[in-house]
């Protein structure tokens, strides 16, 4: 199998902090691969190594078939990279930014217009506006256009949706879906767990390590304990009461429900209900649900 990205036991430390610790994975050609984890998980360091901006301390990696250390020049000519901060020239207009990055890669906007068309239509009305005056969502779209303008084989997007509102995030993922259809391999990192479902495969990262890697459903199916969703009239009290209960494995709030797991495995519903009613909870809702990616992440974090 020919991979777009191959990583074997790659590591990187800064002083004493191990930013990335023996990480290995492969990304297939044309795949939309997500790295999911909080700040400090090592996502940015990993991306910087793969885009040849940092030298790994150990291990090896190949992007588009090129060694990230030896062939760094070839990689620099072929990959697309969008760093965490939207790296645009604030004092240049939308069009000037795009033109500049096109020429840096020895191409023109026209030559690859087809590729960015769907995204650029949003920006077209603001062509002459300075990048610094665009809204967050627009900056994000422009940065993506700039990273795409030379038709890269592999695209690295480092936290493109951080700090962006849910609607703009949705739009952004729709765009990535279209790009993927065009055959571009995309590696994207995000702190938002709910974005896992938009990726083909995902790697959950925490403290420089990959907690789990694979298809979303496979990761979720590994979650063994039954998860219950609960609610009552007083949610805050519900958390406190469940935490105090003797067989509690985990209690986390999830929006308007709590997710609860029990140490004993099955058939705990009646028992828990009894406890809660005795504590004075009213309007109790109690149901077993399928765990989500966030349940998995938290359980992996605690392992």
């Amino acid at each position: 199998m020919d991979y777009a990205v191959t990583v074997n036991n790659i590591s990187k430390s800064f002083d004493k902090t191990k930013a990335v610790e023996s990480v290995s994975f492969n990304v297939e050609k044309g795949e939309l691969f997500g790295f999911i984890g909080p700040d400090g998980a090592g996502k940015t360091t990993l991306f910087r190594m793969l885009t040849t901006l940092l030298l790994p301390d150990g291990g090896e990696a190949f992007v588009d078939g090129f060694d990230i250390v030896k062939d760094f020049k070839k990689i620099r000519g072929s990959v697309g990279y969008m760093p965490g901060r939207f790296s645009l020239y604030q004092d240049l207009s939308v069009e000037e930014n795009l033109k500049f990055f096109a020429r840096v890669f020895g191409t023109t906007i026209e030559a690859n217009y087809e590729l960015i068309k769907d995204i650029y239509v949003f920006l077209e009305p603001f062509r002459k506006r300075r990048a610094g005056k665009l809204s967050g969502g627009m900056k994000q779209k422009l940065a993506l256009c700039c990273a795409l303008i030379h038709k890269p084989g592999v695209l690295f997007l480092d936290e493109p949706t951080t700090g962006v509102d849910p609607v703009s995030r949705n739009e952004f993922w729709e765009m990535l879906g279209k790009l993927k259809e065009g055959g571009i391999t995309i590696l994207v990192s995000t702190p938002y767990m709910d974005e896992a479902s938009k990726c083909d495969r995902i790697a959950l990262m925490q403290k420089g390590k990959i907690l789990d890697i694979g298809f979303l459903n496979d990761i979720i199916s590994k979650y063994e304990k039954p998860v219950y969703a609960l609610r009552s009239g007083d949610m805050h009290k519900l958390i406190l009461d469940l935490r105090a209960a003797e067989n509690t494995d985990s209690v986390y709030s999830f929006g308007d429900y709590l997710h609860y797991t029990d140490r004993r495995g099955k058939a705990v519903e009646e028992d828990i209900k009894k406890i809660l009613i005795s504590k004075g909870h009213t309007d109790l809702v109690f149901k077993q649900i399928n765990p989500g990616i966030e349940d998995c992440f938290m359980s992996l974090m605690n392992k």
Partner: protein, 244 residues
């Protein structure tokens, strides 16, 4: 309009030249409420929040925060609120202890009171081993929790939180909300913005800003009912989509 509103806003407007960033917004917040202030990027949240914190003078409209007028009594407002954002929080090159003592000093706490508070917070957050460590060496989750504790070190009536949980891991994110609840239980009013829609569900009341106006304002369950959807995420999408 009851007298007991801790924040009271009527037709508040802010214009920058010909651009209206905040367009006649009105709402009231009760003491001890967790008020979720949501909206798309560029909808005017930050501008509105700045006015309420006394950092920016409105173009027109009325607003009082903790009983003080946002035009004339900005200094009194600043004394009675706490503020924390994802971007601005603590001094990276000072230690935990130094940060607590510095902010205690900023809000005029006496020397003994600062010492007492420092011990209390270090104990509360279980960060004894980090007492003399520089902030920049701490994990983000610790920093955010500490930043929140410091934002309420002077026991303000209201605390403004601007995307406090951005980029934080899911467990810490929930611990952070536990802290918010505890503050609310002590009758501190919490005014919070977030991009995590599950967090919108934790609020006692949620307002949605779209293009400088408040497009919806109610309890989360009422909003879901009103729009006939199951999650706050869907409410957000329904409201913000036309604006995007």
């Amino acid at each position: 309009m009851g007298e007991n509103h801790i924040i009271s806003v009527k037709d508040l407007t802010k214009k920058f030249g010909s651009f209206t960033a905040v367009d006649k917004i009105s709402f009231n917040v009760l003491p001890g409420e967790i008020f979720g202030f949501l909206g798309a990027n560029g909808a005017g949240k930050t501008t509105a929040m700045r006015m309420l914190c006394g950092l920016s003078i409105p173009t027109s409209g009325k607003a009082t925060v903790a009983g003080f007028d946002v035009y004339r009594q900005t200094e009194s407002i600043k004394k009675n609120i706490g503020y924390m954002s994802q971007k601005f929080s603590l001094y990276e090159d000072l230690t935990v202890k130094e940060n607590i003592e510095f902010y205690g000093g900023v809000y005029g706490l006496s020397r003994e009171r600062r010492k007492e508070k420092t011990e209390f917070l270090i104990d509360l957050l279980k960060i004894e081993e980090a007492r003399n460590k520089l902030i920049k060496s701490l994990p983000l989750g610790w920093k955010q929790k500490l930043a929140f504790s410091i934002a309420i070190i002077h026991e303000p009536k209201i605390v403004f939180l601007d995307e406090p949980t951005g980029g934080v891991d899911p467990i810490t994110r929930r611990q952070f909300w536990d802290m918010i609840y505890e503050a609310a239980d002590r009758n501190v009013t919490v005014f919070v913005t977030t991009h995590y829609m599950d967090e919108a569900e934790y609020c006692s009341k949620v307002s949605m800003m779209v293009d400088g106006r408040i497009a919806a304002l109610d309890k989360p369950e009422k909003l879901k009912e009103q729009f006939g959807v199951g999650t706050m995420h869907e409410v957000f999408v329904k409201l913000a989509r036309p604006a995007a």
